[in-house]
């Protein structure tokens, strides 16, 4: 099944999971050994420049379809998600693809992801983080001009957000130095780094 994840074969993966569950496989093992391990491998291939956006999207979609099958069984057996991540592109910015990719990679890594879409106000981030008991809020910005909105969102969390929520940032114009200067808890230069960062902050 891990191979179907890496190859992004949604049509093969979901039925294989249904079959494995029917023959008594442990849902947590499928999650860990097939989906999470498969997406980790996809992340490696991406980092090595062997995989590119289309391949990663295919794999991520296969995992999403697989999770739809797996999630109810995980809940029955009491397997908790790694944590909840509230994700969105900041106010004034409509760029979607990088943010979607990170959302799918995080789901593949076992997180529960609440994707607020694009052009998201600081208040909506705050409200959603509260409602969903988020451990992590991930902000994306692709335009230099929307980096101030990223700063405003981080400030909103610092000024009255739920306690213990970590805020991480990323996107083409964002740098480590900028992330530090606005008081974010972390910065990731790409999707696979974002997964590693999320794991380190939520663990």
């Amino acid at each position: 099944m891990r191979r179907w994840v890496v190859e992004g074969d949604r049509d093969a993966l979901a039925p294989a999971i249904v079959q494995a569950l029917a023959s008594g496989a442990d849902p947590a093992a499928i999650l860990g050994e097939a989906l999470i391990a498969g997406m980790d491998e996809v992340g490696d291939l991406f980092a090595r420049n062997e995989y590119f956006l289309p391949e990663v999207l295919l794999s991520a979609r296969a995992v999403q379809a697989a999770l739809a099958v797996l999630r109810p069984r995980l809940a029955e057996t009491g397997v908790e998600p790694a944590g909840t991540v509230v994700l969105g592109t900041v106010q004034g910015d409509l760029h979607d693809i990088g943010k979607n990719l990170i959302g799918m990679m995080l789901e593949g890594a076992g997180f529960r992801v609440v994707d607020l879409g694009t052009n998201v106000t600081p208040d909506r981030f705050l409200q959603s983080a509260r409602e969903n008991g988020a451990a992590l809020v991930a902000l994306s910005a692709l335009l230099t001009t929307t980096m101030p909105a990223m700063q405003a969102t981080v400030a909103a969390f610092r000024g009255g957000g739920p306690a213990n929520v970590k805020v991480i940032v990323g996107g083409a114009p964002v740098t480590e130095a900028f992330a530090r200067s606005i008081g974010a808890d972390g910065y990731a230069p790409d999707a696979s780094a974002a997964v590693a960062l999320a794991r380190s902050l939520v663990a």
Binding site: N49, L53, P54, D93, L94, T144, T145, T146, T175, A177
Partner: protein, 543 residues
């Protein structure tokens, strides 16, 4: 003395200048506050590496972003990025002089003979058409009675040092009214002296210059007019003005010349008067068939015009086709490989100026990728083969050029010029953005590629671009083969026509009002279409 006031002293080696600055000031800000120019295309974010300086003493710790661009040896020698260096003690600094930046050659003449249709003269006397690009500015001095060009001047946009791309400049202008005023002033000042120079060369008294007609992308036009372009930087990217308008040159800050300045209309936030002027220059609204117009820069502008309707969009193609974000990339300057051919089993490079190859410009870049796709060294998914994984059928020149190193796979075109696996990815993103724009416009009008009679390629590609290479990359639909024409800088031609003829300015105004703008990013299917367009067509399909 109050401790806050005790500054540090920065000595500039070779300039006999000392700057006093508050501790913690970035070196870039300190040097600029002293009125000196330092290039910083990334607007001080620590990513472009242009503001390189060397501390001879008193070097601050290297910032993390700078470390990514500088080797440990260079850091030990005192090299730093000025924008990431926060001075805390007095120091001595040598400013590096970035190679080749001052000597930019700009193709100032439009390659395409315009199908302008003539018309009634708007004015007598002298005028100038001005095309303000994000990177370059071109001024054409015109004899309006005869509608003839009598002089031309081109220069690098002086705003470049406050950010290379549009968005960086919008961000800079928004940092305060004095920043906006400065961006306007340095541009107006450069135009003012270029125009006064053109006039004096031709023996024309500068008070005889009657009218200026200006085209450019919306951001450049906002900045010229002194209007904060911030709304163009955030969704929904609405311009402050759409319609053309006229203002006295003195009101914009011109002092050496006096004329009325007419700014041509814009369609949407990133679909500007440059595209409108180009379409008018080519006479597309008057052609019977359907035309596809593509003006390619970092921001691509695409329009489908004809059969009684016009739709347009802008797409974020990125700087790859202008040589940006490409490991051996460069602008179309002397030393750039502008064409690549396979001849008798060897690669032949056509280098601008004829000397040794120094880098790849957009047309050479698309040629080599097309050749490597056909040669099996790049897969349709965009992966570059390693020497070991190359198909047996690959020609020897492909095998000889492939290199494998710690940095990954690359293909060497010459000793100095190579194409990296990552460069191919950059081109994939750029061509997918353009292709998605084309596909969406066709769909909006319910048309198929075969309905398009002519394709006009304007802008960054210049006249060296090979349509076959763009087809091999899948940037244009295969059905358009044989209908594609590179036309060069037609925006400037359109500005000249609008300056000279009643009918052409009328056409520009009409077109800008009538063109329906499609916002690609707000479409729910954009991601899937874009992802589907990232792959290259299989080579046999392109034959």
């Amino acid at each position: 003395m109050d401790a806050r006031c005790r500054g540090v002293t920065i000595r500039l080696a070779g300039f006999d200048t000392e700057i006093e600055a508050a501790p913690g000031t970035s070196l870039l800000a300190a040097v600029r506050s002293a009125g000196m120019d330092v290039d910083a295309d990334c607007a001080g974010r620590g990513t472009c590496g242009l503001c390189l300086v060397r501390f001879l003493d008193g070097a601050p710790p290297a910032g993390r972003d700078g470390e990514a661009l500088l080797s440990a040896d260079r850091i030990a020698e005192g090299w730093r990025l000025a924008c990431q260096s926060y001075v805390s003690t007095s120091c001595t600094v040598a400013l590096a002089r970035p190679a080749d930046r001052g000597s930019m050659e700009i193709l100032a003449d439009a390659a395409a003979p315009p199908d302008h249709g003539g018309g009634r003269r708007r004015r007598r006397g002298w005028g100038a058409a001005i095309d303000i690009g994000t990177t370059t500015v071109v001024c054409y001095l015109m004899d309006l009675s005869r509608a003839r060009q009598v002089g031309v001047a081109a220069f690098a946009n002086p705003q470049r040092r406050f950010g290379q791309d549009i968005i960086s400049r919008i961000a800079h202008a928004h940092e305060g009214p004095e920043r906006l005023a400065r961006l306007q002033a340095i541009l107006v000042d450069a135009l003012d002296s270029a125009l006064a120079g053109l006039c004096s060369e031709r023996g024309i008294a500068s008070d005889q210059l009657r009218a200026l007609t200006v085209v450019g992308n919306p951001t450049m036009l906002h900045l010229l007019a002194g209007i904060d372009p911030w709304p163009l930087g955030v969704a929904p990217f609405e311009p402050v003005f759409h319609e053309s308008f006229t203002v006295a040159s003195a009101d914009l800050g011109f002092t050496r010349i006096t004329a009325e300045v007419e700014i041509l209309p814009i369609v949407a936030g990133h679909l500007g008067a440059d595209a409108v002027a180009g379409i008018v220059a080519l006479g597309l609204p008057r052609r019977p068939g359907l035309s596809l117009f593509i003006d390619l820069g970092t921001n691509g502008e695409i329009a489908l015009v004809g059969a009684g309707e016009a739709v347009g969009c802008s797409c974020a193609a990125g700087p790859a086709f202008e040589g940006g974000h490409i490991s051996s990339g460069m602008a179309a300057l002397p030393g750039a490989v502008r064409r690549v051919d396979e001849e008798d089993g060897r690669l032949r490079l056509d280098v601008i100026g004829g000397g040794a190859a120094r880098g790849l410009c957009g047309s050479g870049l698309t040629d080599i990728i097309a050749l490597l796709l056909a040669g099996g060294a790049i897969s349709p998914r965009g992966q570059m083969a390693t020497p070991g994984s190359l198909p047996a059928s690959a020609p020897p020149w492909v095998r000889d050029g492939l290199r494998c190193s710690d940095g990954g796979v690359s293909f060497a075109l010459s000793e100095a010029v190579a194409l990296s696996a990552h460069d191919v990815r950059e081109v994939q993103l750029a061509k997918a953005a353009v292709r998605t724009g084309i596909d969406v416009l066709l769909e909006e009008r319910g048309l198929l590629p075969e309905h398009v009679h002519d394709v006009f390629l304007a802008g960054a590609f210049g006249s060296s671009i090979r349509p076959d290479s763009l087809l091999a990359l899948g940037m244009l639909p295969e059905q358009l083969r044989g209908r594609i024409r590179p036309v060069g800088n037609v925006a400037g031609v359109g500005a000249k026509l609008a300056l000279a003829y009643e009918e052409r300015i009328g056409e520009a105004r009409e077109l800008a009002r009538a063109m329906r703008h499609i916002e690609l990013m707000s479409r729910s299917d954009f991601q899937d279409r874009f992802a589907a367009n990232i792959a290259f067509p299989a080579p046999e399909a392109a034959l």
